[in-house]
Symmetry: C4
Subunit: 230 residues, 4 copies
């Protein structure tokens, strides 16, 4: 109980700094990949930012492991957190949580369940797609025979891959690029499936609610005698 509350307090306090570090990591990586013409000083700054953010993620993982009071079970039950330490590019996915935490503190009415799932999965897909486009682009750029020439191409390729349209006008040709692409396909398929499924459920819900309000409002009387108009 005590450890749980200390863990909860730790989570609450580190939420904002870690989210900022995630953003900083993503921005640093984007500058590192996209800005080719920057001087060495800026390049070193990018690396410093990325390293600092990475160190923060690792420290957070360590502290939380400690506070949990568990040994190897922690690694197994928090494998997603461990993966994020190894692949810090996935970390920005947690920014979505921050947004929600901010809203919760302000006490605003939160969205409905479906809207939140769609928002969460949609934003995750967007961040994942952006990080993936950067990573694949950094591998493909300059590879012999590559047809992904600008970052715009990479973004377009990402969109047609995540929606499983897959025209094939742009495809990764390097082994590493393809490996990252496979990871993106797998995650994107699951996340967009969640978006699609939630949207579908939400639409059906809206239509069945409309039934009820229409039978009470638009018609002179209730149609099936279930609810008296008074």
């Amino acid at each position: 109980m005590d450890e749980d509350s200390r863990l909860a307090r730790w989570d609450q306090r580190t939420e904002v700094p870690l989210a900022l570090a995630s953003l900083a990591f993503l921005v640093g990586y984007a500058v590192h990949v996209l800005a080719q013409a920057i001087t060495d000083g800026w390049r070193d700054l990018c690396f410093a930012v990325m390293l600092t953010a990475w160190a923060m993620f690792a420290a957070d993982y360590g502290v939380r492991w400690r506070l949990s009071g568990q040994r190897l079970r922690f690694v197994r039950s928090h494998w997603l957190d461990g993966l994020v330490v190894v692949l810090p590019l996935l970390r920005p996915l947690r920014i979505v949580k921050l947004y929600e935490a901010v809203q919760r503190r302000r006490g605003r009415p939160r969205f409905s369940l479906h809207a939140r799932v769609i928002t969460y999965a949609g934003l995750s897909t967007g961040l994942l797609g952006f990080a993936g486009a950067l990573a694949v682009y950094s591998q493909e750029r300059g590879a012999p025979g590559a047809n992904m020439k600008t970052f715009g191409d990479a973004l377009w390729w990402t969109c047609e891959t995540l929606t499983t349209v897959g025209y094939g006008d742009i495809t990764p040709v390097t082994s590493r690029g393809r490996l990252i692409a496979v990871g993106m396909m797998a995650c994107g398929l699951a996340l967009l499936g969640a978006v699609t499924g939630s949207f579908s459920s939400w639409l059906i819900q809206v239509f069945s609610r409309e039934d009820d309000s229409a039978s009470g409002q638009g018609a002179p009387g209730p149609r099936n005698g279930e609810r008296p108009p008074g």
Copy 2:
């Protein structure tokens, strides 16, 4: 309460004119994009029609904001209506609602829930696809290296994109065309997912209903003793 009823009356009265304006906008845009050889007089007429329709959408938005008695909350809770004012090409999606309203007034028995979701999502996809094909075609036509040469190509590309087949024989090459395409993919995926999901639910429902009627009719007696034949 009073404002609600005034809003409802406004909605009811403006439904038909706004739907006609939506159709007029879509037709005007289609003529503007497809009819290249028309004289300047006709071209100006197209623009006039589109502008008038647009003004009607904006006025409707303003009046409804007023009537709602809300301030910024209205913008947030009616963001879809705001989007339609900015992108009037999406407005024809509301024609679907008109069709339903007409049916309701006539008092005809409405379709089942699944049928309505399929009809609504299917019609929306069709209108969205047509508007998107027009918009992408207007960007791609004439672009260097484009392989979308006729409007028939654009329609074929739309169908293979919305169903996520994505052969890749025809692909947008301009940045704007690709941006519109991404929007179409996202909407189409969600809408067609709703169609597919509803169709699947409906099919399962039909089959389980068939079970019941078969056990009462085709066999000499009820199979599981639930319903006596008499």
Copy 3:
């Protein structure tokens, strides 16, 4: 009531002949499309078979309209039957029903709900795909610039289209071929969505049933005290 029973008797009696006519139509069409080198006599026979089958479908539609005692409502509520009269190539989809009717008469235990939906939607997809491959192949064969050269190509194209993989190594280039392809995509998407959805539900059902049997069998006692072992 009386009309209903007459309609039911008519359905029961015409089921087998109409199914055979459907098969004959499909075979006749396949021979007509695929067998190029046959003599004119055989070709005329094919046409005769197809015409006879078509006439049987139309007659069946007419008789059922009569027996229903309805006027225009029949057209609206049986629009699928009307569509089949116009596009007799879709008729073989009813063969699936015949198979089920035969099984029911023999009194064999029928499959579970999910298995039947999967079987029905899967077989429908297969028949639809075969008929569509024939129709598209008959349009594409000989068209300038077409890359669908053998019927094997057409079948391969059908499979990659219906599963929405869409490599794009083979694509229809004629307007008619593309029109048929769009119809196939729409139907295939919905039918395969039903197959996928049912399979998913079935798998989840199997796993949750396994839970129950495992807790009663593999472990020394029930895990959650719900069911005593005795």
Copy 4:
């Protein structure tokens, strides 16, 4: 009853040896396909391993048929087992079951329902994809006009096929390769649909559970009065 228990004992005893035989078959097939430069002695060993494993599968099928005490009904109700005897490359799919059996014996808490469906369907897809990539590669390698040149290409093609992205940069050109590909598409579609569907359900479940815990923890009091904080 007695036969059931003997069948259960047989299943329990043969589970581990058969799983090892499955693995040996898969490894043997992989070596046979991929290792071109091995001497004839090693090649014969591969064949021997594969034949032995195959014989074990057939013997297991025969024994279980005997023990079941059924005649032709066994073939019909265990058609999946029969298929595995004919296509032993599908056998490794049962390794997944072994993993679960091992876990069950150790008494560890098993995963939740959704996690197990995702794990099972995901692992099955992986094994199916690997076996399919081997089979297609063995057909395509050396075929005239084939663009699947290395096994890495085959794996990449498998991933883009199973996720239905289908770029089309690599496609099978031989009839046999295409036949195997169609089988992979059908199975992959169903299995990945199960993964996507379960993930979607799981995500919605997580979000609705979060609702409950948030209303008890983050806010000063429960929001809807359902659960007192004490």
